[in-house]
Amino acid sequence: MKCRVCRGPAVIDVRRHNANFCVEHFIEQCERQVAKAIEAFDMIAPGERVLVAVSGGKDSLALWDLLIRLGYDVEGLYLGLGIGEYSDVSGTYARAFATERGLVLHEVDLRDRFGYDVPTAAAATRRVPCSACGMSKRHLFDRVAVERAVDVVATGHNLDDEAAVLFGNVLHWHTEYLARQLPVLPAGNGFPRKVKPLVRLSERETAAYCIVRGIDYQVEECPMAAGNRHLGYKEALNAIEERSPGTKHDFYFGFLDRAAGLFRSGMGTDANELQRCVRCGAPTPGEICAFCRLVERAGGHQHDEAVPVTLGRREQRP
C-alpha cells in the first residue's frame, strides 16, 4: 500500500477518498480537511480567540493540536465530570497534553464547583447520564467562553458523530433538531459562536492522527455511554460504509447542502424571547435555566455506588 502523494509506504487507507497516506501526508491531509471546513463554513476568522472543549479523548486533543498547527489562538477547557476512574484518567491526558505543549487549560470540576457529578445527576433526575452530561457541558462551555471573552467555542464532533446524530434525528423526525444540526451555530443573545471543525474527518482518522502525532489520549469508552443509542447508529452506519465507502460523508454533507434549510422554519424558541436566568445570568426561555435546575436537584447529592444509573444494553467492543 503506497501513499497517494509520495508513493512511500502508507500507514492508513482512507477508503472514502480512495487514498492511502504515509505519516507526513496523512497529517497534511487532516490539516487540509480542517482548514477546508473552517473556511467553507466561516467557523473562525483570523485573529479570533478560540476555546476548545477538551475531554482527554482523541477528537478533542486532535482538534486542539490541529488548530494550533493551523495557527489559531486556542485555550482548552476541561470539565471534571466525576465519572470515576474514567474521568480521572481523561483529566490526566488533557493536562499532560497542555503541559507538554505549554498551552492554557482551564478546568471546572462539577463536584467541587456545583456539588454534583454525572452519575449523581443521572440518579437525581432519573434520566440517562448522557442527558445531564451533555446539558452540563453545553452550559459550562458557554459560560466559560463568556467569562474568558473568547470569540468561538470549538468542539471535537467528527463526521461519524454528526452522521449518527443526523441518522437518529431522521429516523425519529426530530425536525427541530434537524434545523439546528449545523457545523456552525452563530453567536447571539449571550451565546458564543460554536463550531465543529472536525466534520470532514472520521473518528478513525482523528484516532489515527493522534497515533501518528504521538498524542496520548483516553482510549477507553465512557462507561456511562456504553450501549447507548448513538453507538447503535454508528454501528449501523459503519456497516453501510463498509460496503459503500463515502456514504456517511454524502449523507451528512448532502443534508447540509440540500435539506438543512428546509427545516429552519421549525426552529424552536426565538433568540429574542430569551431572558437571563435569575441565578446564573445565562440565556434561558424561563426564569431559571436548565443547568441551575439541575444543580438544584442534583447538587449536594453524594455519589453512591449502589445507586443505579440508567444504562442501555452493554455490548462488547474490541
Binding site: M1, A10, V11, I12, D13, R15, N20, V23, S55, G57, K58, D59, C130, C133, G134, H157, D160, D161, A164, V165, S202, E203, R204, T206, A207, A208, I211, V212, V219, E220, E221, C222, A225, A226, N228, H230, L231, K234, E235, N238, A239, E241, E242, Q316, R317, P318
Partner: protein
C-alpha cells in the same frame, strides 16, 4: 478461521483487544485485514497498531509482533 492460541507452537503474534481488555495470541504470518476479519471487526471501527506504529490493512503480522486492535468509536456526541 478463528484465532488460534499459539503458545504450544512457540512465538506468536500477541494481540491486545479492548472492551473488555484482554490479550490473545495468534499464529503468524497473517495480514491485518485477515486478522480483523477473524475477530469480526469493521475496518471503520478499529485501528491496528504494531509495536507502537500504525499499520495498514495489507501489512503482514509476524510472530513476536505485538499488536493492538484499538477501537475508535466513542459514544458521546
Amino acid at each position: 478461521m478463528p484465532a488460534v492460541p499459539a503458545r504450544r507452537w512457540g512465538p506468536a503474534v500477541i494481540v491486545r483487544l479492548r472492551n473488555p481488555n484482554r490479550t490473545v495470541e495468534v499464529r503468524g504470518p497473517r495480514s491485518v485485514a485477515k486478522l480483523l476479519n477473524e475477530f469480526g471487526l469493521a475496518r471503520e471501527a478499529v485501528l491496528v497498531v504494531r509495536n507502537g506504529e500504525l499499520v495498514p490493512g495489507d501489512a503482514i503480522l509476524a510472530d513476536a509482533d505485538e499488536v493492538e486492535l484499538r477501537p475508535v468509536i466513542s459514544g458521546g456526541a
